[in-house]
């Protein structure tokens, strides 16, 4: 049969075809472009339009950056150098860079202090963010607020040292009190200990104002991106614990606690942040007798913290609500009391669920700190809108300054959001 077959066909191949590369249209860049960019009439048109738009944007952007000048003392100098070649007048950034970072009033010979505080931030924050680092590094985190306060505001070191001591005393008093009388009584004892040590510190500081004193800088002189960082960091770190307390309070079975939390959260969420800032800046001044120096930054921090803690409370309440009821019942059946159940079982799970929401609030809050420019504080946006854009030398320079502000904010916000995505991946324990 096989013989017959051999004669009945004209040609039989007796060797394998050597392997050949795929056709050019089906491989590499060309294939990718055919599939992704030119797979149909509509897509081809969209691609062409897209390329045109990108080209248009870059043809303006690249000369703007490449031809830009960094030399000059005013916009008129810039124009002389540029001669209309489309370049940017980046000289304004060079001349006013320190003002963009620190505001225009912070003494220039002391710039190293906030810079050092910023550098120390990279020692203080990682232990909180990356839990694979050794736990003892949390000491840096605990010390950081006091060191940073001393560096940025200056004055005698007694104030921050005693504040630190007050926190330590409160912590141990709380531990001891909790062991003997329970959680709530422990809290109360801790508060009392804190108040006593803080009062002593106040007294000592007024007796010995010269001890380890560095030049003090009043709050009024803070400004620039430093102010945004201070407000953002302080308010986020304060509002997370407050938000947790509010979220738990809202779920409480005690009507007064629950009522207070509900009213607080709903009231604050129902009011625009800018209103609260105006209250902090303007209305409070009417109630306080003149000469009362209730620091403006503290007032603003209180208001922003109130605002963001209400939002974070709602985010965390979502996390609490997402937990199956069985988790609460399991905690009860193990015989844990309320604080234990919350700390050991409920909150770790609820907070994990809430991370994306909390980060979302934190990023939004950081950007919202620019609203303080409306109440004549000179944060980054305030510096640009006020002193720099309205100086005789730089009136008319818009793009360069706002681009710089965008870059500064983008770096920080993108960093936060990348971190939160990493954290979500780390904490993923479900069966996805």
């Amino acid at each position: 049969m096989s013989d017959a077959h051999a004669h009945s066909v004209a040609f039989v191949r007796d060797s394998e075809i050597p392997p050949a590369p795929p056709p050019a249209a089906e491989t590499g860049v060309v294939k990718w472009m055919r599939e992704n960019l030119f797979s149909g009439v509509v897509n081809t048109i969209m691609t062409v339009i897209g390329v045109f738009i990108i080209f248009y944007l870059l043809s303006g952007l690249i000369p703007w950056i490449v031809n830009g000048t960094w030399e000059g003392a005013s916009i008129r100098d810039c124009r002389e150098v540029l001669q209309g070649n489309g370049g940017g007048c980046f000289a304004v950034l060079r001349e006013r860079w320190a003002q963009l970072l620190f505001g225009f009033q912070y003494p220039s010979e002391l710039y190293w202090r906030p810079t050092l505080a910023f550098a120390l931030l990279f020692l203080a924050v990682p232990p909180v963010l990356f839990f694979k680092l050794p736990r003892w590094m949390l000491v840096f985190t605990a010390l950081y607020p006091f060191v940073a306060f001393w560096l940025i505001w200056g004055g005698t070191a007694i104030t921050p040292i005693f504040l630190l001591l007050a926190f330590v005393a409160a912590f141990f008093a709380f531990k001891e009190g909790e062991k003997r009388f329970g959680f709530v009584a422990g809290l109360a004892i801790g508060l009392v200990a804190f108040a006593i040590v803080a009062f002593i510190g106040d007294f000592v500081a007024s007796e010995e104002p010269g001890w380890l004193r560095i030049t003090s800088v009043p709050s009024r002189e803070m400004g620039g991106f430093m102010l945004n960082m201070i407000l953002g960091l302080v308010c986020v770190s304060l509002s997370i614990p407050i938000g947790i307390v509010l979220a738990l309070g809202r779920q409480s079975r005690l009507p007064i606690v629950k009522g207070f939390c509900v009213v607080f959260i709903e009231f604050v969420r129902g009011v625009p942040l800018i209103t609260l800032l105006f209250v902090a800046n303007v209305v409070l001044a009417y109630f306080l007798p003149p000469g009362t120096n209730f620091d403006l930054i503290v007032r603003v921090i209180i208001m922003i913290t109130m605002f963001s803690s209400a939002y974070i409370a709602e985010v965390i309440r979502g996390g609490l609500a997402a937990l199956p009821k069985g988790q609460y019942e399991a905690a009860d059946s193990l015989g844990l009391d309320y604080p234990q159940a919350m700390r050991l079982i409920i909150l770790p799970q609820a907070l994990k669920i809430s991370i994306p929401g909390i980060v979302n609030v934190a990023v939004g809050l950081f950007k919202d700190t620019t609203l303080v420019s409306v109440i004549s504080m000179f944060d980054l946006v305030g510096m640009i809108r006020g002193p720099i854009l309205s100086s005789t030398a730089w009136v008319g320079v818009y793009w360069e300054l706002w681009a710089a502000a965008c870059v500064l904010f983008f770096v920080v916000c993108y960093g936060i959001s990348q971190y939160s995505q990493w954290l979500e991946r780390q904490l993923r324990t479900d069966h996805r």
Partner: protein, 339 residues
């Protein structure tokens, strides 16, 4: 119950506050510095330079008052205020005086309970047009498109001006000054109208300032001046007469450079002598040193010098004296006599 106690306490604190702030001069002397409200920045009028030192035409008034009261022009705490916060800052006592190119109007003087102590700049609404439009007077603007900030008095003034002159126009409503400039430069409107000092300051930032001209017509009155709270006439007198001292100094030929010399060797012009404290008791009458006016002039110069260094024709802003010339030169700047 608790609330009423709290409110009562606050009310009492408020009364105590009102009592305490009655003697602003004592407060300033005790504090050792003058809290002066300024803008967050208007070119030429108040702007911090690259070193963070406040400069400008309004700032000079603050420094002159500080020099007169405390003998030190640097003893000023500048409190930047926005258009929204300026009046509450003054009313609540956060600042002792406000020098923030604020228009003196009836309602601000009476209803808001402030005292305008004088006028340091007579402004008015003007028009800016591209030079190649070939227009030399605002009366030739019939049928023009006009960029104008909405919700301001300039809008009403514009309507009045065109109606009175029997002309028509097409308004292009704009939200902010910076936006208006962009629209004007992009050719969205033939004319841009706002206060003339602002027009000049914005034109100074143009790439080609000479391509735009500011027309000579002034269609509204905008007297700008420093102001203080109602109820402390002594303090109002001090600010008023410090400003007048700067104005009189120009009229009498006293300058920053020759004031020390004139004070050291009194001449035979009695008014100069009274002004500089070498004759008479003027300082004591307002509770200050005899050399108060001399200190103020030595610190910032006379009115004309302040004008020329900050906003005058030799600066980038390049404002002519116009209405702000001395009355002897056909302007409105006029100080009552020092007698």
């Amino acid at each position: 119950m608790k609330n009423s106690v709290l409110l009562g306490t606050l009310a009492f604190a408020g009364l105590a506050a009102a009592g305490a702030s009655a003697a602003t001069l004592d407060d300033v002397k005790a504090r050792g510095s003058l809290n002066c409200g300024v803008t967050t920045g208007v070119p030429g009028f108040a702007e911090p330079d690259a070193n963070g030192v406040w400069q400008g035409f309004d700032v000079a008034v603050c420094r002159a008052v500080a020099a007169a009261v405390l003998g030190d022009p640097e003893a000023v705490t500048f409190v930047p205020t926005t258009g929204k916060t300026r009046f509450t800052a003054l009313a609540s006592g956060e600042i002792d005086m406000l020098a923030r190119n604020t228009t003196w109007t009836f309602s601000r003087d009476t209803d808001l309970k402030f005292d305008f102590v004088g006028v340091n700049y007579y402004d008015g609404q003007g028009f800016m047009v591209p030079a190649d439009l070939g227009v030399s007077s605002a009366t030739e603007l019939d049928g023009a498109t006009v960029c104008i900030q909405t919700g301001t008095t300039t809008e009403l003034n514009l309507a009045d001006f065109f109606r009175v002159n029997g002309m028509s126009y097409e308004p292009v409503p704009i939200e902010t000054g910076a936006e208006a400039v962009q629209q004007y430069l992009a050719g969205a409107c033939d004319v841009y109208t706002t206060d003339r000092s602002a027009l000049a300051a914005q034109r100074a930032g143009f790439e080609a300032p000479d391509d735009s001209v500011i027309l000579p017509e002034v269609v509204s009155k905008e007297p700008l001046g420093p102001l203080v709270r109602h109820g402390d006439s002594e303090w109002a007198d001090i600010v008023r007469w410090t400003l007048n001292a700067m104005i009189s100094a120009e009229e009498l030929g006293v300058t920053k450079d020759n004031v020390e010399e004139m004070a050291a060797s009194p001449g035979d012009n009695p008014e100069i002598n009274r002004l500089l404290g070498t004759e008479g008791e003027l300082g004591a009458m307002i509770g200050l040193d005899a050399t108060w006016a001399k200190n103020a002039i030595a610190a910032v110069g006379n009115y004309g010098e302040v004008f020329d260094t900050n906003i005058g024709e030799s600066t980038a802003i390049g404002l002519a004296r116009g209405l702000n010339a001395q009355y002897t030169d056909g302007g409105l700047i006029y100080s009552p006599p020092f007698r």
